[in-house]
């Protein structure tokens, strides 16, 4: 067996691992990155990017379907659009392979080496990598960065199979299911369920909690609830999935307990289980590394150091929030720490986005969360229906708004939330405002471009200060 040594070994090529390898390479560290399932990880291959492609295509299809039903601002189609799911998935796969190929090149250009294979550790600094062709190489590293990511959670009583699918398979379906039941109305379930609804599938949600998107308050989720209602999507809250019975003809029946404790059942072509993700801890020798755990995640400090000297862990495998951009920030940071820089992971907040219909973006604290922390707050809410740009996007009726939450005494912005068409693109300014410690006056005093959605943020700050321009001042 070939043996190798390196200064930095990165395990996992997702949005945490590959930036770590690139940065380590840039810093002149002798770096190897090991990944079996394709560079880019869940994010590029079966998460963020493919789902956004799917959502974009579904939205186009929905618009055309509307035009076929009647006049849509002067545009109409004489017949309904046709959907070829196989081609749609092929288009999505094309985007994915372009991006993953780009990652491979970036790694190479930075001077790091990618080994396609599966690593299994025998101790904290040594692993054996088995390549696709069965050839093995033993790697001993001075520093190890664990970036193994997370996988979808399966419900033990209804494992993934023919009818029961996870988010990965939901992005691979070459035939559109006529009827889809989604178990879990968190952001993954909602994004995919809404996309399928736009493609014409009949969709029903079964959610164990009493609300959708439990991380956000009801004010934020109301426009999504409105959309679901308008598009005849049933949402059964406080219901627990109990099991699945396969039926002849490919259909399946989901049995669940409703809010009153009564047994119910619902038939579907596919049942999408989207009840969360868990750290990927199995099959790569974690048990041989002697690391401290934090529940189902690897325990790390604010420099992503594990209990073992020279072993770092980043991204989903170290716990919430399970977000690609958090993993990337940690990956870059760890590479710099190994290179001798002084760094610490200390964001004020990490923005999160849901590509639902309409979209949701949140940075920092909601008003309720701020109050729980003992803050006295003021808020400013600006309805996007008062934005010219918003109306020109035909989005004026979806209930979208921008809401800013600030401390009452010094006007420091504690949180910013928005819901509405394309508001995900506002996340950058929101994050910057919170990270820089902006006050309401800083945002109100920054000239925002007309006509853009960003004006909504300035107006929300003005609203909180009591003098908005494009709506009546709150009394």
């Amino acid at each position: 067996m070939q043996t190798r040594s390196c200064q930095v070994l990165v395990v996992g090529g997702g949005p945490g691992g590959y930036p770590a390898a690139i940065r380590a390479g840039q810093l002149g560290l002798d770096t190897i990155i090991v990944d079996k399932h394709g560079l880019g990880g869940t994010c590029l291959n079966r998460g963020c990017i493919p789902s956004k492609a799917m959502i974009h295509a579904a939205t186009e299809f929905e618009h055309m379907s509307e035009a076929a039903k009647g006049d849509r601002f002067g545009i109409s189609l004489s017949e309904a659009p046709k959907l070829d799911m196989g081609k749609l998935v092929g288009w999505k796969d094309g985007i994915v392979s372009k991006l993953t190929g780009g990652v491979a090149q970036l790694i190479k250009a930075a001077g790091a080496e990618h080994i396609a294979g599966w690593a299994e550790f025998s101790n904290a600094k040594t692993c054996v990598v088995t390549r696709e062709d069965g050839e093995q190489v033993e790697i001993t590293a001075e520093n190890v960065i664990l970036a193994t990511g997370s996988v979808e959670v399966e419900l033990p009583f209804m494992p993934f199979g023919k009818s029961v699918i996870g988010s990965t398979q939901a992005l691979e379906l070459t035939e559109r299911p006529d009827k889809l039941v989604v178990v879990g109305a968190g952001y993954i379930g909602l994004e995919l369920g809404i996309a399928y609804r736009k493609l014409g599938t009949e969709v029903t949600f079964i959610e164990a909690l009493d609300r959708i998107l439990p991380l956000y308050d009801k004010e934020i989720t109301r426009p999504i609830t409105m959309w679901l209602k308008k598009h005849k999507v049933d949402v059964h809250l406080s219901c627990k999935a109990k099991g699945v019975k396969e039926k002849k003809g490919g259909k399946a029946v989901l049995e669940y307990e409703d809010a009153k404790g009564e047994s119910q059942s619902i038939e579907a072509d596919k049942i999408l289980v989207a009840v969360g993700r868990k750290a990927c801890l199995e099959g790569w020798g974690l048990e041989n590394m002697g690391l401290d755990m934090d529940g189902k995640f690897i325990r790390v400090d604010d420099q992503c150091r594990t209990g073992m000297r020279g072993v770092y862990a980043i991204g989903d495998v170290v716990g919430e929030p399970l977000l690609a951009h958090k993993a990337t920030a940690q990956g870059e940071m760890v590479a710099e720490i190994i290179a001798g820089h002084r760094r610490v992971h200390d964001p004020v907040s990490i923005a999160a986005v849901c590509f639902t219909e309409p979209e949701v973006v949140g940075v920092g604290l909601t008003p309720d969360e701020a109050k729980e922390r003992g803050e006295e707050v003021i808020t400013g809410k600006f309805p996007l229906a008062a934005s010219g740009r918003y109306l020109s996007m035909d989005a004026g009726t979806d209930g979208g708004f921008v809401r800013v939450t600030a401390r009452k005494d010094d006007h420091v912005i504690l949180g910013i939330h928005a819901v509405g068409t394309h508001v995900s693109e506002l996340s950058g300014e929101f994050a910057l405002a919170v990270e820089m410690g902006a006050r309401l006056e800083d945002i109100a005093g920054t000239i925002h471009v007309h006509p853009t959605l960003t004006e909504g943020f300035a107006e929300s700050a003005l609203t909180a200060l009591g003098h908005p321009i494009h709506i009546s001042a709150p009394k």
């Binding site: 002084r342 401390r407 010094d410 006007h411 420091v412 990270e435 820089m436 410690g437 006050r439 006056e441």
Partner: protein, 421 residues
């Protein structure tokens, strides 16, 4: 109003750009024709640029360190005849003159900013995350400072870069560590001065890096017994004519090199490593490294082989003075075939000088001291000793040849009569 636009002049043959070293005027200054307004640097020489017209400077383009193409408009001058900007006499018409005049009413203190928008700022509770941008947080981390102990003066108590500077300067870091039990006994020196490396210093930096990267050198150090040479030197200085310069040790070394180099011509040469061409010179143009207020400069004694000891000393004195005063011409600063660097007056046992590329040899002079040595009869006697620390381009000069050259120089210096044969 007429405006004169002053362009970056062509300061030498084939020069397409020049680096601004220093402006001697600022916006608002009145300038007159031929007034020295700007220093620019090309190749090795700093050139003083005079103004062409009378007038008032309205705008300057480019800061020290900027490299600007010849022909670029760099100075805008409102020429005389233009209406004065204010009803003051031209002599007082500097735009940046202080506004307060003696006898004028004291200015009222500025009105406080309207309070309507400014929220009252309560002191933040202890333990709350300090308000600071990511850049400030990173700096604090690198400087090992707990931002929680730093008072913020920005909006809402935000900690600014300046707050961090002040905190460090005031020794707050130690005080904070001691739990606020009192200020540090002595303020720690944590000041950091960032300086743009420009002009001559930039040339030196670039040249040194280039040589160190590209030339594998060999250093060779030898002890020279200069007892006899010192006796001769002191005798010559005591008996010299009034119009003859005082002799230091360097002219003797120059003389020795002119005698020894013909036998090792590859050490009196230029080597172009890219073209693989070695140019050996019969003439000895001896560069003398000189510390000047602006940094290292190397004026050159041309055709040292044609000069006697007094002429070498006189030329050395003249060039050294010109370099220190920044008046050495480009011709006087270029063309050396070998270089002498002397830190002997300061002290130091050994140096490893960096070659003055493309030359292949540099001779370093270390301090002279009286030390005990055995004589031929085995008795300990006081001798005046001095090291020569030399470096050679090892691609061209083999260690053996380097040693032979220095041994010949040693022989000449230890038997000073041979210098004059």
């Amino acid at each position: 109003m007429s405006e004169y636009r002053y362009k970056m002049p062509d300061v030498g043959e084939g020069i397409v750009e020049a680096e601004i070293v220093e402006w001697h005027v600022k916006e608002g200054d009145t300038v007159s024709e031929d007034q020295h307004v700007l220093d620019v640097m090309t190749d090795k020489a700093t050139v003083e640029i005079p103004c062409a017209v009378n007038g008032t400077v309205t705008r300057l383009v480019g800061e020290p360190g900027d490299v600007i193409a010849v022909g670029t408009e760099i100075m805008f001058i409102a020429t005389e005849g233009a209406p004065p900007a204010e009803d003051e006499s031209p002599a007082e018409g500097k735009a940046d003159a202080p506004k307060d005049k003696p006898g004028s009413e004291p200015e009222k203190p500025a009105e406080p900013a309207p309070a309507a928008q400014a929220p009252s700022v309560a002191a933040r509770p202890a333990g709350e995350r300090p308000l600071a941008s990511p850049a400030v947080r990173k700096r604090a981390l690198e400087a090992d400072i707990d931002l929680g102990a730093v008072p913020g003066t920005g909006p809402a108590g935000r900690i600014t870069h300046e707050d961090l500077d002040d905190f460090i300067k005031s020794g707050g870091r130690l005080a904070a560590r001691a739990g606020g039990a009192g200020a540090a006994v002595r303020a720690p020196r944590t000041g950091v001065t960032e300086e743009k490396v420009i002009g001559l210093r930039r040339r030196i930096s670039e040249n040194m890096s280039h040589v160190q990267r590209t030339v594998p050198d060999i250093a060779y150090v030898e002890e020279i017994d200069v007892t006899a040479l010192e006796d001769l030197r002191q005798h010559l200085n005591a008996t010299k004519a009034d119009d003859q310069p005082k002799l230091t040790l360097i002219p003797f070394l120059v003389l020795a090199l002119t005698k020894a180099l013909p036998e090792t011509p590859q050490a009196n040469a230029h080597f172009d490593g890219e073209a693989m061409v070695l140019t050996k010179y019969d003439a000895v143009h001896c560069g003398i490294a000189a510390a000047t207020p602006n940094g290292l400069m190397v004026p050159v004694i041309k055709h040292a082989e044609s000069l006697d000891i007094w002429q070498i000393a006189a030329e050395l004195g003249r060039l050294g003075k010109a370099a220190k005063e920044g008046k050495a011409s480009k011709d006087e600063l270029t063309g050396s075939t070998i270089t002498i660097t002397s830190l002997g007056a300061v002290g130091g046992l050994v140096t490893t000088p960096i070659l003055n590329a493309p030359e292949t040899a540099i001779i370093g002079v270390n301090k002279m001291q009286t030390l005990p040595r055995y004589n031929a009869g085995g008795q300990v006697v006081p001798r005046k000793l001095m090291n020569l620390s030399s470096c050679f381009d090892h691609r061209i000069v083999d260690g053996y040849d380097a040693a032979m050259l220095i041994q010949r120089v040693k022989g000449l210096l230890e038997n000073p009569a041979t210098l004059f044969m």
